[in-house]
C-alpha cells in the first residue's frame, strides 16, 4: 500500500451561527466567528489517497485525474465563496473546519474510482487543522 497526498488551496469566507441557539449563546460559543458579515481564511487542503502501485504505470492514482476531481468537486464549489450562503452543505451545517473536512470527504469519496480515500486534512490557518478519516 502506498499513500499519495495532493495539496490545494482555496480562499473562502464564513461565519459560525446556530439558529437553534439564542444570539447571546451564539456569541458565547462562537466568539468573533459569530460576526454575521463573515470573515475569511486561506484554507490549505491535503487529500491523501492510498492504493497499490499499478505495475504498468507505476502510479497509485493518476494525479491528473485526482487533480481534476479535486478542482471540479471541491475548489470550483468553495474557492472565493461565502461558504454559509453558497455551498449547499453549509445551508444546514455550520462551516467549521471539522465540517469542511467532512464535506470534502463526502464530495470526493464517490468520485475516486482508482484509489481509496485515506485522509482529508484541512488547514484553516497554519496553526489549526482537522483530519477526517471517514469515521462514522
Amino acid at each position: 500500500m502506498v499513500y499519495l497526498t495532493r495539496k490545494a488551496e482555496f480562499s473562502a469566507s464564513h461565519y459560525y451561527h446556530n439558529p437553534q441557539l439564542s444570539a447571546e449563546e451564539n456569541l458565547r460559543v462562537f466568539g468573533k466567528c459569530n460576526n454575521p458579515n463573515g470573515h475569511g481564511h486561506n484554507y490549505t487542503l491535503e487529500v491523501t489517497v492510498k492504493g497499490n502501485v499499478d505495475p504498468r504505470s507505476g502510479f497509485v492514482v493518476d494525479l491528473k485525474q485526482l487533480k481534476d476531481v479535486l478542482n471540479r468537486e471541491v475548489l470550483d464549489a468553495m474557492d472565493h465563496r461565502f461558504l454559509n450562503k453558497e455551498v449547499p452543505e453549509f445551508l444546514t451545517r455550520i462551516p467549521t473546519t471539522e465540517n469542511i473536512a467532512i464535506a470534502v470527504w463526502q464530495r470526493l469519496a464517490p468520485k475516486l474510482n482508482q484509489a481509496q480515500l485515506h485522509r482529508v486534512r484541512v488547514y484553516e490557518t497554519p496553526d489549526l487543522f482537522v483530519d477526517f478519516y471517514g469515521e462514522a
Binding site: 467532512i102 477526517f132 469515521e135
Partner: protein, 140 residues
Amino acid sequence: MKAHLTRRYIFSASHRLHSSQLSDAENAVTYGKCNNPYGHGHNYVLEVTVSGTVSEQTGMVCNLIDLDGFVQHEILDHFDHQNLNKLPEFAKSVPTTENLCIAIYDILQRGFRLAHLEKVRFEETMMNSFEYAGGRELGS
C-alpha cells in the same frame, strides 16, 4: 462523525541536558553541546491533537476557546520563558524533548476533559520532532 483536530502553539524555554546518573565525561559524550552547563534555548512548537464526534450543535470536536484557554493556563503560562531544568516536572528527569512530550501529554490527559487526547507532537527545531500518544502506537 469523528474528526481529529490539531492546534499548534509556540513557547520558548532553556534547558541543559545532564543526567545525574552519568559521569561528567559520559554526560559530555552523550549530550555533546547540549551539556553546556549554562544551558541553551529553543522555540518549541507544540502540537496538540484531540479527537471526538463533531457536535451537530456547534460543528466542532471541541471549542477552541476551551482548548486554547487550558493550554494557555496549564502549559504556556508554566513553561514559556522558563528554564526547564528548574521546573518540578524535571526535578528527577532530563528535560529532553522526549520527556517534555510525556510531561505535556500528562498535563493534558489529567486536566482536559472536553475531547479525547490523541497525541502531543513537539518540534524542538525545524529538523527535530517528537510525538507521544500515551505509550500507544501512532495510528492513521
